[in-house]
Amino acid sequence: MFLDTMFLLSALATLGGALMVVMSKNLMHACMYLLLSLFGVAGLYATLGADFLAATQLVVYAGGVVILMLFAIMLTGGVEEFVNKFGINKIPSMGTTKTYTIGAIVSLIFSFVILKTLSPLFKNYSQADLPPMESTVEDIGVLLVTDHALAFEISSVLLLGALIGAAVISRPRKINGGSK
């Protein structure tokens, strides 16, 4: 009962947010809806008993990724040019009816592909015979340093690489020709 309610609310937040990310004409608003959607996903994790994942989702997305996105929007905002260097009209950056139609068709094709390939493998499981939820923090911690130690190490190297890479790429430097 409680879980069902929570699931419905979270799913509503997730899908509503995602849909508004699609529909919204304002990038800033889209970003805020993405935040809503990610909170919804965190809620879904919580209903799945994945408490650690839910908290990680909050920490990483709400605290990190969304603010980064907002920063990027801020730093790259400005007047939009509607004509490219060849003088041809550009498609508006938030999309037009035409692009949305193409997107819808592509997603339909994608859903067809996925359903066609994966539906024979699908088997439903109901909630009736599930064990009660337990704290997963300790087990995940143990798994990370035993079975998945290599992946853990590699991801730490990846994060370090991302850190250095991001710092190096976005560092302002002189460009020949004197633009910014």
Partner: protein, 724 residues
């Protein structure tokens, strides 16, 4: 006795933490540096508390002589070729370690305290607390070396100490001489270390482990002397023994690698006291005591004894004529290290170790006192000193105590240890005539030791001031605690009763007892009995030591050396002769010095003028530096290098490289023709033309627009799914 990791690890970790923190803290200057100095002193004092606990348990704990604590943990595993190769690290504490730990921590504490006085002015010259940073790291490394349970981790700490020594010798880096001295010290010991590593590798190769216990077991099982395990035609024991002993020669400044130690005196005096007198050079002797069974199995004892004897006498003769205050002490250090090695060679195991301990204490005290003198009078030349006893009472007292100890005067510690080494040498000489050589070298050195130490004392402290100006400028000694307490504390331990008596059981000192506990040092420190290690069980890291007192009967010192009554009687008689002889020698040395420098009835100037050639030879240390640089490096290595270079340029470059290039050039000409005709015109251009055709098609697809790519991917997926 329940030892867990947390009661052993702090000994090493406290100074190490102090090093890590001070590395950041000390360079800030001002109060931060003061805090860093305090932290360094507190850390070593803290680890001495743990060391005292261990010492206390081992000495007063009524355990047998071969009781030990040995804890190991797996450092890393190497898997390959179906074999698992486990490298273990661990701590190994037996009686020798316990005594050594106490000596290192207490002497280091005293030297740290003294350094706070001595290095006080140094804080302002941009160096700040760097000295204390390295002292902490050094102490930590030395303690780690003492606690190591295998040769490999010992080697790691050994090298770490070498590095610290390098840094500390070069403390006054603005002087050019200092820069040369630390490089020299580093490079000279490196020669020995290369061989040491070679020895470790040889042992590892044969028995798959370098832990002491495994080495002892392998010796007991005869692996070291087995003919199948010969290395380069000699037995494994001889090969590895010589190699590791070369490490000792380098670190303990034995002949012929003794040239670095006198130059190392360029460092601050407290660092000389800690590193080049008390601990690091002693580490070499400690190592040779640890591998004593290998030396014995390889029949190397005579070689070791001769090296020790040569060093003892040679350094003593050089010390006779030195005029620099610290140089005398430096050469006397080399000489005393020679005695220790001689002790190892003649099989006087516990006396060699005892001399290590006693020497560490009195030589540290001597160096601190020397630091006190130099700091007071601002010069190091003895001919310009004299009469200083009126200005520096405490230094004078401390220094006389140590001088008497090093000269081997009865009731002082040096007599107890050195006399026993010489006595054992004499015993060996009575068995086999070839042992007379090291024995005579040793006795002659003892005479010279007494002479030159007293010469130093008389020149510096007695008589009238020879340089009135320097004397007048010399500071009056004030009663400052961090200067005098280390001196007096250490000089108390130059008395012989601490080492000759019985600290255990009934009363403090018990001389002349016929049975039972007699001379704690002899009881505790005995040669490792390799047979006991055949069924040796290791304790895992983190376990509590569960052995209880009951399982270990009280140790007894076998007064007859395990010999028959007749042989034991012979040994005793020879020992009495040796003791008598060395007392006579010591006093005659002192008397001669008295005649020369106080009474004036023998004129030293006449001797110098008459034997000027020999005097100059000694003054320059037998021209060994000269020999190495002019003879070995310039005549030997440099021409060889030139020859190699010439070979490289003339033969290898001209005929090898250039010749090969010529051949290639010719082949290339043929290839070029073929290339032009077939490859270029037909294949390359043909491919290009065909690519051009495809290019037109692909160019339209490769628009650079990512979304278009995604759509293509999706369409391909769709096609794939439909085709299934």
């Amino acid at each position: 006795m329940n030892y867990t990791v947390s009661s052993i690890a702090p000994i090493v970790l406290l100074p190490f933490f102090a090093f890590v923190i001070n590395a950041f803290l000390a360079r800030k200057g001002g109060k931060a540096t003061v805090a860093a100095v305090f932290l360094a002193c507190a850390a070593i004092a803290g680890s001495s508390i743990y060391a005292i606990r261990i010492f206390n348990d081992f000495v007063f704990g009524n355990y047998s002589a071969d009781y030990n604590i040995h804890k190991i943990f797996t450092w890393f595993d190497l898997n390959g070729g179906g074999q698992t190769f486990t490298v273990n690290m661990g701590v190994y504490i037996d009686n020798m370690t316990a005594v050594m730990l106490l000596m290192v921590t207490v002497v280091a504490t005293m030297i740290h305290i003294f350094s706070t006085w001595y290095m006080h002015h140094d804080m302002n010259y941009g160096r700040n607390g760097r000295f204390f940073v390295y002292m902490s790291l050094f102490t930590s490394a030395m303690l780690g070396l003492v606690l190591s349970d295998n040769l490999f981790s010992l080697f790691i700490f050994w090298e770490l100490m070498g590095f610290c020594s390098y840094s500390l010798i070069g403390h006054y880096y603005e002087k050019e001489k200092t820069g040369d001295a630390n490089v020299k010290a580093f490079m000279t010991t490196r020669i020995g270390d290369v061989f040491f590593l070679l020895g470790i590798v040889a042992i590892w190769n044969q028995i798959g482990s370098v832990a002491y216990v495994d080495i002892y077991r392998a010796i007991a099982e005869g692996i070291f002397t087995n003919v199948d395990n010969n290395v380069m035609g000699v037995s494994l024991a001889a090969f590895s023994g010589v190699c590791i002993f070369l490490g000792t020669i380098g670190k303990s400044a034995q002949f012929p690698l003794n040239v670095w130690l006198p130059d190392a005196m360029n460092g601050p005096t407290p660092c000389s006291a800690l590193i080049h007198a008390a601990t690091m050079v002693a580490a070499g002797v400690y190592l040779s005591l640890r591998i004593y069974p290998i030396l014995e199995a390889g029949h190397l004892t005579y070689f070791v004894a001769v090296i020790g004897g040569i060093t003892a006498l040679g350094a003593a003769t050089i010390a006779l004529v030195q005029t620099d205050f610290k140089a005398v002490l430096a050469f006397s250090t080399i000489s005393q290290l020679g005695y220790m090695v001689l002790g190892v060679g003649v099989g006087s195991y516990n006396a060699a170790f005892m001399h290590l301990i006693t020497h560490a204490i009195f030589k540290a005290c001597l160096f601190l006192a020397a630091g006190s003198v130099i700091h007071g009078i601002h010069l190091q030349e003895m001919p310009r000193m004299g009469g200083l006893k009126n200005k520096m009472k405490f230094t004078w007292i401390a220094m006389w105590c140590c001088t008497l100890a090093i000269a081997g005067v009865p009731f002082f510690s040096g007599f107890v240890s050195k006399d026993r080494i010489l006595g054992d040498a004499l015993v060996m000489a009575t068995y086999n005539a070839k042992w007379w050589i090291p024995t005579i070298l040793g006795f002659a050195g003892a005479f010279l030791t007494a002479f030159y130490m007293c010469r130093m004392m008389f020149l510096a402290f007695h008589g009238t001031p020879r340089d009135q100006e320097a004397y007048d400028h010399c500071h009056e000694e004030k009663l400052s605690w961090n200067r005098n307490i280390p001196l007096l504390f250490l000089s108390v331990f130059t008395l012989g009763v601490w080492f000759a008596g019985s600290l255990t059981g009934q009363g403090f000192v018990k001389l002349g007892s016929k049975d039972g506990k007699y001379e704690w040092f002899k009881t505790l420190i005995q040669k490792p009995k390799v047979e006991k290690f055949v069924d040796y069980q290791r304790q895992p890291w983190g376990s509590t030591d569960i052995k209880s007192t009951q399982t270990f009967p009280t140790a007894k010192y076998d007064n007859t050396y395990g010999l028959s009554e007749e042989a034991a009687h012979h040994v005793h008689v020879v020992h009495y002769w040796g003791a008598g002889l060395s007392v006579i020698i010591a006093f005659s040395g002192i008397f001669l010095a008295f005649l020369m420098y106080i009474k004036g009835s023998v004129n030293p100037g006449w001797w110098v003028n008459s034997f000027n050639k020999y005097y100059r030879t000694l003054q320059n240390g037998y021209f060994m530096d000269h020999l190495y640089i002019k003879g070995f490096i310039q005549k030997g290595l440099l021409p060889f290098n030139n020859l190699l270079a010439r070979f490289d340029m003339g033969v290898y470059d001209r005929y090898g490289v250039d010749g090969w290039a010529g051949v290639t050039k010719y082949i290339m000409g043929v290839a070029k023709w073929f290339d032009n005709l077939f490859v270029d015109q037909i294949m390359v251009d043909g491919t290009g033309a065909s690519v051009k055709v495809f290019n037109v098609i692909l160019r339209t697809i490769q628009s650079g627009k990512i979304q278009f790519y995604i759509i293509i991917i999706v369409l391909v997926l769709l096609g794939y799914v439909l085709a299934l």
